[in-house]
Amino acid sequence: MARYFPFLVRGVGITVQFTFISFLLAVMLGLVIALGRISGSRIIRTPCQIYIDFIRGTPLLAQIYLVHFGLPQIFHYRPVGYIDALVALTLNSSAYMAEIYRGGIESIEAGQMEAARSLGMTYGQAMRYVILPQAIRRVIPPMGNEFITLLKESSLVSVIGMEDLMMRAKMMAGQSFRPFEAYFTTALIYLVMTITFSRLLGRVEGRIKGSGRS
């Protein structure tokens, strides 16, 4: 069995890669969607709301299939698994990220926006210099949780042939005829990753709290 271990571990790289890239993209896209979601204009707000509700109300698996098989059928192009996996994960996570941002922004007292506006700042300036810098501190812990969720959920990209950790577990199970060992080892590897990242995130949070000022 032990000879399969390096084979599994090579999948870890792909899993971490999917997680990091889609997390970073979702951090950016999520902010845009959150700002749209709280916009005063209905034409901007409603689509963002629908997007968030759609993503959060449907399974990631369905979203992956939609991106990988559904879109190419409509728009006539050859699907690329790696890109589609990243796109699906990013779209999925960005909706949750948007809600995290919104929670952070809405937790800032209304008086902050009013004070900024009363000084003549535009809405955008007030957001950028007053509201977001305060909100960022409050969204870091839930974003850490979202990162861990993404790490686990990324296992679903194995269904469109990505050779991540989960895919390699399936391959190992098939070749060795020892599915229990294969999947249990894999589960443990996921566990080690989530624990490690939780610790790291905890440390980052500690440092931010340590730097004081609410």
Partner: protein, 240 residues
């Protein structure tokens, strides 16, 4: 300087301001008093357009605020606002609180904005506090910093919404002192406050607001000694 004509403001079915007319001349200090919920804050917030009036006209410095062509952000720069809860920016140092708007809104070079900030901090007696964060200040110091922040935009008019009512009694004096100096320098001010000592001493006019209308106004001496309306008398007897 400020001219308000037949101002109405409703929140849904709630008709908060019911036709307000007020003129404030350059350099004048007007103190607005009135029971809780009478619309004092709403009135101030309409003047610098933090609330959109339902109807009526507001002219500041001869510019009609409801004229589609005026830039609301420019108008807000002409009217500085000081809040009951200070609303300092907690993530910025005291100096950065003050220099932020001049730097970002007026595109002032950062060094100039900071120099202006230091000058204003001296003026409100906080010269030694520029590097600290708001939560490290007492309430009275926070409110003085907030006044300095508003002044940094060189407003022509200052609006104060119960600037001392969130303060411990021993800190009220220091804030009123700063406001008094400002008045003596000729700043046009509209002050919602129930500090009657301040009204007597500094105000050119006292206005009594009740249920969204201005019931009565007068020079402080006259107003307090000899209120004309029953509602004014009833209110004054409660707070004096």
């Amino acid at each position: 300087m400020v001219e308000v004509k037949n101002l109405h403001k409703s929140f849904g079915d709630l008709h908060v301001l019911r036709g307000i007319d007020l003129e404030v001349n350059k350099g004048e200090v007007v103190v607005v008093i009135g029971p809780s919920g009478s619309g004092k804050s709403t009135f101030l917030r309409c003047i610098n357009h933090l609330e959109q009036p339902t109807s009526g006209e507001i002219h500041i410095d001869c510019v009609n605020l409801d004229d589609g062509n005026v830039n609301i952000n420019l108008i807000r720069q002409t009217a500085g606002m000081v809040f009951q809860q200070f609303n300092l920016f907690p993530h910025l140092t005291v100096l950065a609180n003050i220099s932020l708007a001049p730097a970002k809104v007026l595109n002032m070079p950062v060094e100039d904005a900071e120099a202006l900030g230091r000058e204003l901090l001296r003026k409100v007696g906080l010269a030694d506090k520029e590097a600290v964060y708001p939560h490290q200040l007492s309430g009275g110091q926070q409110q003085r910093a907030a006044i300095a922040r508003a002044l940094a935009m060189k407003p022509k008019l200052m609006l104060f919404d119960e600037p001392t009512s969130a303060l411990d009694p021993e800190m009220i004096g220091e804030v009123l002192m700063v406001m008094k100096e400002l008045a003596l320098e000729g700043m046009t001010m509209i002050v919602v406050s129930h500090e009657m000592g301040f009204a007597r001493e500094v105000a050119d006019r006292v206005v009594f607001m009740d249920e969204g209308v201005l019931v009565e106004e007068g020079k402080p001496s006259e107003f307090f000694r000899n209120p004309k309306h029953e509602r004014t008398r009833a209110f004054l007897s409660k707070i004096l």
